[in-house]
């Protein structure tokens, strides 16, 4: 479980996150939704350690990240998997090398053991046998799946996904969403997905936090979302005609 308490973040005079307190539950897909510029990416970057929060605390299974020693922080990094918007695969490495990279850097496994783990992860994301392809030879959906394989290769306890469906067709989006949810359940990990794709919200939204103007305005499940009377949330979620009709059914 990940807990954040009174998180604040400024960029110059811009107060991006204002006193955010929230819990992300283990074994569930926790969604952060909100408009562009609402602060959700900043929050995700604070959670993974790319940005430092100005105030407040982040707890990973009860341990305050800001009070961790360097060694503990490094150990924590190895328990974190991240799926980036564009995949962030290393251009000069093959699919196999990309997935194997964390194992090579942080474990003492033999080549055979590493390859076995890589093949297992590739199989898990339905890319069996695609080891030797270069990232430039992959489609958008395949890149995301390789990135998922790389994110889970170290058997993380926490999985972060930044806009996992951006740039994907609806069918591939659902495939990626389902894969994220299956992995979350299978390994009982804490997954946090940053999205503004309403299809994703309706597909995998178990525990949703709506961020608006740097504050959490609403939390609940996808079922609660449909029933919600929160005006700002409804304006955001049910912006399209299709979702307006779903709400009114």
């Amino acid at each position: 479980m990940i807990e954040i308490k009174n998180i604040e973040k400024h960029f110059g005079d811009n107060h991006v996150l204002k006193d955010i307190t929230h819990k992300f539950e283990q074994g569930k897909t926790n969604l952060i939704i909100g408009e562009s510029g609402s602060g959700k990416t900043t929050l995700l970057k604070i959670l993974v350690g790319l940005y430092k929060n100005d105030n407040g605390s982040v707890f990973f299974d009860g341990i305050d990240v800001n009070k961790m020693k360097r060694k503990e922080e490094k150990a924590l990094h190895q328990e974190v998997g991240m799926l980036f918007q564009g995949g962030a695969l290393y251009d000069y490495m093959t699919v196999e090398e990309n997935i194997m990279f964390p194992l090579t850097m942080f474990t003492e496994k033999t080549e055979e053991e590493k390859l076995e783990r890589v093949n297992f992860c590739l199989n898990r994301v339905n890319l069996k046998g695609e080891n030797d392809l270069m990232p430039s030879e992959l489609s958008g959906g395949m890149k995301k799946r390789v990135a998922i394989a790389r994110a889970i290769v170290m058997q993380p306890k926490y999985l972060f996904c930044d806009e996992p469906n951006s740039g994907l067709d609806p069918k591939t989006s659902i495939l990626i969403d389902n894969l994220i949810q299956e992995i979350t359940k299978e390994y009982n990990i804490t997954t946090i997905v940053n999205t503004h794709d309403m299809n994703s919200v309706m597909e995998i939204g178990e525990h949703i936090a709506y961020i608006n103007k740097g504050e959490i305005w609403w939390t609940g499940s996808k079922e609660d979302l449909i029933k919600s009377e929160n005006k700002e949330l409804n304006d955001f979620v049910f912006a399209s005609e299709l979702f307006k009709r779903i709400k009114n059914v």
């Binding site: 350690g49 790319l50 991240m82 695969l89 964390p102 850097m105």
Partner: protein, 246 residues
């Protein structure tokens, strides 16, 4: 001025991160070989081409400007040798390599930054500055002196052929090459090369590593890297020449 100090501060903070022990020597060694290939081996062709023709032009121009019959012909060899060893091979070649290798380093790191590949390394717990930049610095420091030695040799071959075309005999040219040769000139040249290699790799890495934005920002970083490296090379050329030769 404030901006310059900000850049300097950020550069030294980055260099502190760069100069740390590699996480795994096996991985570091692999990265180093890759960088030697990219920055060094892939530059041999352009070094050979430019050095040969510049050497030829230097000797032809020297010969044309020494029309006084009292000046011995072997001076063409001597002047070509000193120009190539003292200035062309270390300084001019470094300026050319700042354009080729420097822009390549900045655009590579800039692309990695904007496509979040550097963030991915950081999240894994990898010291991205050390992992990406240290091999580039070591590869250039290690390989550029070889390029400069090759450049000196090929430049002199070019100068010899250029000399032949303006009636400087091989004997005169060789006599000029050997005349009062000071081996410290080569040491001076190599010292300059090592400093310039460090400037090219570290300054270009700095601009690439801190790229913000999209593909246009990558292009801007690349330009800034080449311009800044070139200016620093010229400034340090002046300082080192004063320190080592004056």
């Amino acid at each position: 001025m404030l901006k310059l100090l900000e850049h300097l501060g950020q550069y030294f903070i980055m260099m502190k991160k760069v100069m740390s022990k590699p996480e795994k020597f096996k991985v570091f060694w692999k990265q180093l070989l890759l960088e030697i290939e990219k920055a060094g081996l892939n530059s041999i062709g352009i070094v050979l081409f430019i050095s040969f023709f510049v050497g030829g032009v230097v000797s032809i121009q020297t010969a044309i400007n020494m029309s006084n019959p009292l000046l011995p012909k072997y001076l063409v060899g001597l002047a070509s040798r000193d120009s190539l060893i003292l200035e062309f091979a270390p300084t001019m070649l470094s300026l050319i390599l700042a354009g080729k290798v420097g822009s390549s380093i900045a655009s590579e790191l800039g692309s990695m930054r904007v496509s979040e590949q550097i963030d991915a390394l950081e999240i894994m717990g990898v010291n991205s500055a050390s992992f990406l930049i240290l091999p580039k610095i070591i590869a250039t420091i290690f390989f550029f002196p070889f390029l400069v030695i090759i450049s000196m040799g090929i430049g002199m071959v070019g100068a010899w052929i250029g000399g032949l075309s303006v009636d400087v005999t091989t004997a005169d040219f060789l006599s000029g090459l050997k005349y009062e040769f000071n081996p410290f000139y080569v040491t001076y040249s190599l010292i300059k090369t090592v400093v310039f290699a460090f400037i090219i790799a570290s300054v270009s890495s700095y601009f690439g590593y801190f790229t913000k934005g999209g593909s246009i920002a990558v292009g801007k970083s690349s330009t800034k890297a080449v311009v800044s490296s070139s200016i620093l090379i010229l400034v340090f050329n002046f300082i080192l020449t004063n320190l080592l030769l004056a």
